[in-house]
């Protein structure tokens, strides 16, 4: 980034944060004045990822895979059309691969180079996913990272880390918890946490949400 000018009017009485706030405000004003952006389009972009697209999407996909063997197979072999059939597609999810957790293998997803994340099914990534501790340690000390999330897996369970270095986006299909026979897809989706679809968590058990 370019150096910092020390003669501009909004000097040093502001914190680092308000410096940033002023800069973003200035940018939006300039770009709107020049006709490059329409504030109404910005509002819609924000509303989409704040209100409409989030991990509930992925949870519904997982719940469907838990209840429908045919769908599960489709999801694991050709994820994009299977996910689109539930209504989710688009930006940052153009090339989806779904990873099946089993008693022998636990999958966990990271992007060590930036913050690649499957937006259509999980929304925008949480701060920890984009943070240096996660990006640095997920590949080198995944059991330690899981411990940070309060998750301990048997030593014999293989931990399989997927570093999202391309435009392929990964979604973990967690194992269905015991004691959930007969639950509806909606109720099952309540058990599917965001972290369980990244691989840093496990689904809730039915007794956790009663």
């Amino acid at each position: 980034m370019s150096g910092h000018d020390h003669d501009h009017p909004h000097g040093h009485e502001h914190s680092e944060l308000s410096e940033t706030e002023l800069r973003v405000r200035a940018l939006e004003t300039i770009l709107t004045e020049k006709g490059y952006v329409e504030p109404a389009a910005l509002d819609l972009l924000i509303e989409t990822y704040e209100k409409k697209v989030g991990p509930r999407n992925g949870a519904l996909v997982v719940a469907k895979a838990w209840t429908d063997a045919g769908y599960r197979k489709w999801l694991l072999t050709d994820a994009n059309p299977a996910i689109a059939s539930v209504g989710y597609a688009g930006r940052q999810g153009e090339h989806m691969v779904v990873l099946e957790n089993t008693p022998k293998r636990h999958n966990m997803v990271v992007c060590t180079l930036c913050s690649c994340y499957p937006w259509p099914v999980l929304g925008l990534p949480p701060v920890w996913y984009k943070s240096a501790p996660y990006r640095s340690r997920a590949v080198a000390d995944p059991r330690g990272v899981l411990a940070d999330f309060g998750v301990e897996l048997p030593k014999e369970t293989e931990i399989r880390i997927w570093d999202s270095t391309s435009e392929v986006r990964y979604l973990v299909l967690p194992m269905r918890p015991a004691g959930t026979e007969g639950l509806s897809e909606e109720r099952l989706a309540d058990l599917v946490t965001r972290d369980s679809m990244i691989g840093t968590g496990l689904p809730k058990r039915p007794e956790d949400i009663k």
Partner: protein, 220 residues
């Protein structure tokens, strides 16, 4: 950028991961606006995702590590716009447009937002040649350190892994980021044994994969 601060895999000393319960999508209003401005400006700006990533990571490590995520986005956006004469430094400092707008091909209209997001930006392309590798093949990550943008993380450089998935032919970021064209290449998932990456005392039940374009690979 090879060896840049963004290339974090395996770097030590960053401490514990700190999850935030019930985390909101944004933590301040300026983050919302910076996010939306970045998405909306790609259309009039005419840059691609690889140019955006390159602009974000191309800064001194101390800057990269001391900025928050959306501050990095903002710095990247300012850089891309300055390079193209879309918003100059004096304008950002003054808070208003001081120079006439440059003609742009298109802008993002509110009516198009959901369509544009739903369509996304697929990177699959017709292959120009047959794939050199198949699932199960042993490959070595080439020992290369290009001075410009790359998606080859240094922690796998020189290491031997096995092809696990073949994803087809995709836009090659190393080329696309510099404006040299999409230059599509075969893309693979290459899987490594944790002990090959982190030493013989590392956990024997850890496997790590990266996605790698064919120019990153050689037969092993």
């Amino acid at each position: 950028m090879t060896e840049g601060a963004q290339d974090m895999g395996g770097v030590r000393g960053f401490g514990k991961v700190v999850p935030e319960p019930d985390e909101p999508p944004f933590h301040a209003d300026w983050e919302r606006r910076a996010f939306a401005l970045t998405l909306a400006m790609a259309m009039p700006g005419g840059w691609n995702i690889d140019m955006s990533r390159s602009a974000r990571e191309n800064m001194p490590p101390a800057d990269y590590l001391s900025k928050s995520y959306y501050q990095i986005w903002l710095a990247g956006l300012e850089k891309l716009m300055a390079e193209r004469g879309l918003a100059a430094r004096d304008e950002i400092e003054s808070g208003h447009a001081l120079h006439p707008p440059k003609p742009v091909k298109r802008t993002l209209s509110p009516d198009d937002v959901s369509k544009v997001l739903y369509r996304g930006g697929p990177t699959g392309r017709e292959p120009k040649a047959p794939a050199r590798f198949a699932a199960g093949d042993k490959v070595r990550m080439r020992n290369i350190a290009p001075p410009t943008h790359t998606r080859l993380p240094r922690y796998v450089r020189g290491h031997v892994g096995a092809i696990e998935l073949v994803h087809g032919s995709h836009v090659f970021p190393d080329s696309n980021a510099t404006g040299a064209g999409e230059n599509p290449q075969w893309l693979y998932t290459v899987c490594f044994d944790g002990r090959d990456l982190w030493g013989k005392d590392a956990d024997r039940n850890v496997k790590v994969s990266v996605d790698a374009w064919e120019p990153y690979l050689e037969p092993a």
